[in-house]
Amino acid sequence: MSRSQRVAAACLLALVAAPLVLPEFYVTLLDYIGLATLVVLGLVVMTGVAGIVSFGQQAFVGIAAYTTAGLTTLAGWSPWGGLAASLACVAACALLIGLVTLRLSGHYLSIATIAWGIAIYYLFGNLPQLGQYSGIDNLPAVTIPGFAFDTGRKSYVLIWAITAAALLAARNLLESRTGRAIRALRFRSVMAESCGVDTSALKLVIFVYAALLAGIAGWLHAHYLRFVSPHAFGVNAGIDYLFMAVIGGASQVWGAVVGAGIMTVLKEWLKDILPKLFQHTGNYETIVFGALMLLLLHRTRDGLAPAFARWLPPRAAGELPREAPAPPRRERPAAGTPLLQVQGLAKRFGGLVAVKDLSFSLGAGEILGLIGPNGAGKSTVFNLVSGTLAADGGSVHLLGERIDGLPSRAIARRGLARTFQHVNLVSHMSVLDNVALGAHLRGNKGSAAAMLRADRDEEARLLAEAARQIERVGLAEHTLAAAGSLPLGQQRVVEIARALAADPVLLLLDEPAAGLRYGEKRALADLLRRLRAEGLTILLVEHDMEFVMGLVDRLVVMDFGEKLAQGLPLEIQRDPAVIEAYLGGME
């Protein structure tokens, strides 16, 4: 038994023993912590990991609580029917809000969540059918055949069984194919799209997921207290949940327990002493919470969970993936087949013409170099071909199919993989996970399968494939290191491995040799030659002429957004127009 397993076992034991030994007051407190943990868990994934800030989770808790309260007391439904209806209601609302706000920048969503949280609060408080501000009481307890969860101690079992299951499921989700994509959402959505991730759809999924967790908490809340009233779902509740998530931090799902635990206990304590201090009742604890939150933000963005983790045994750096067969591979076009055809490509940024009437083509198994002085428009061409930018004119065909106008994830699906000039890795994620993100489209298991661990075979194949690509580019000893800890040159090589993990037919490399030492450049050139020998086609933007000349089959030279020359490397070296552009002319 490893030390971390022992810690997990001790936690589990404490969780089971708590209701048997603790006095009523503490069991109640733990019940509340469990309920809050469920909501905060959704926020840890949504806010902490994916960077979507919501102050409105209490509204989802409230919608679920009121749905089940109404159906069980007025329509005589069973609590389990209430659960189904609650979750359906919450999912529908979350879908609507998500669809409307997720395409806009993040702060719109955050403001919208506050606004609609207020709207819901006043709706609950003013509808006579919902008991207005006095709420609905006499809810039935949740029962299973032969057992009713009708006391604080019995409810503890239900609440914590569900919470523990949700925590495990969330951990499983984050350690999966979808989880890697979620972790790339916050700062690296362009890269994620280029790996085939539909980031808008994924954001929506996460938003609904977090809302559903809040919905489950609302349902539990209603049948645990046997009573609902609007006061539990006011604006401050939503702010409290978010603060809990920030306190817990985003590094691990267990942060949700830490954040919910600290805030719930602190609140209980402050509500006890502050009114005595001010000789008046009121929400004085907000002063303390606000001040502590500011102090925390001033000092760290990682929350307090890492501070707690210091007392725990150090986490193993992860394990090398086990051997597994390769995921399905794409058919390679025969050498010489026309692969990429660019016709009359054009792009303007306002008044600046970045690319003008550019045409070139690539055959399968060829390495084409795209060179030119700084600002010639090379990277723009890259972004146009890979779909990161939309072209203003012209056409791009890949294997005879027109791809300009398609989003980059659709182009990735057709076999194009790319690297970025500015390294685009999820820096706190391991090299292995970063590269496995490249293989995203070679798997198809979704979030549900990941939560239930029904994705393990596929996951093993994807990780083994990622490990093989890392070995292929010569970084095997860094497989488990955080990508951000490598020197910049090696991070570029990780990008190549990520692109290779996609099993592309066409590889777009944006200045892969920049920042590499001499020996590393030679190794990279050897790797690219090997890839060509295996039938891969490569389009290369590079500044390092020595590197390019010895490697590529043909060159296209750009200047001021236009094609200046094209041909074999030796011809290009002697072309007077090229020499003029690079050296400012020879008298």
Binding site: W116, S189, V190, Y284, T286
Partner: protein, 348 residues
Amino acid sequence: MNGNIALWLVQDGVTNGAIYALLALALLLVFAVTRIIFVPQGDFISYAGLTLGTLQLGQVPGTVYLLAGGGAIVALIEATAALRAGKSAHLPRIAVVQLGVPLAIAALAAWAAPRQIGPALQLALTLAIVVPLGPMLYRIAYRPLANASVLVLFIASMAAHYVLTGLGLVIFGGEGLRSNAISDAKFDVGVLHVGAQSLWVVGSSLVCMTALWLFFERSLYGKALRATAINRIGARLVGIPTALAGRLAFVLAAAIGALSGILISPITTIYYDTGLMIGLKGFVGAILGGMASYPLAALGALGVGLLESFASFWASSLKETIVFTFIIPVLLWRSLVSRHPVVEDEEE
């Protein structure tokens, strides 16, 4: 509903809408210059309304303790920074500016409160007490986060709002106050009874907006703020300190918040937590303007005021629900007109 009622509702809506418009402009200004979603704006409304009300009762408003306390904290922060940088010569100036001035205002307020100093001086005193809290808030809560992302700053705003609202409860208690109207006169315009207070509100808002426009178009500071809003790094490179721009934006926002509080307090009873709701209605307007366009934001805020006024006639208990649900169609519209984002990821 007949025409008279409709006209009356329009008047009511325009009065509130003018205040929301003013707030929306302040929110846009702060967001453009500092990327801060200024949720605590609402607390300045409450603080000003309650400070004025307390002064009118002849009592010392609790905000003077915040002013003195905030000044002390800022002085401490600045002094520590000066000592760390080895610039102990700055200490006397810090003591006078950061601590002396707030203490002097607080002392003046304590002296003036029980005396009948007249409405104009009460207004001036209210502004003198509440407005300096803006730059203090910026220094204490936001300056250490100058490089944080929009969303981290948003969370910090929520935290600051928590602190200010809690402190508002401590210093003003849970009781609401309604201050005396600047003028009780009523004018009959056709069928319409126009209250002088409404004219004051709309007039002051217009004057304030014009003043803002002149400030941005004509003054050097205004141009510096605009430059910072357009390109933060560029502005720094040509010598406009980000901190100065931030402080200035917060002075303006606090002043607008305080003015709104003063204008609205004779119309609505102000509680320590009323401001949040008023401020958020300004946000709904600001969002309509895409958080970028001032005229659209002002129009949007006016629309919010009208919607609120008509909603309170048709379904008064659901007024707030209707106003805040309005944000959903507004966002839908924004999301349809906004071009597909040419994605440029935020830096880690």
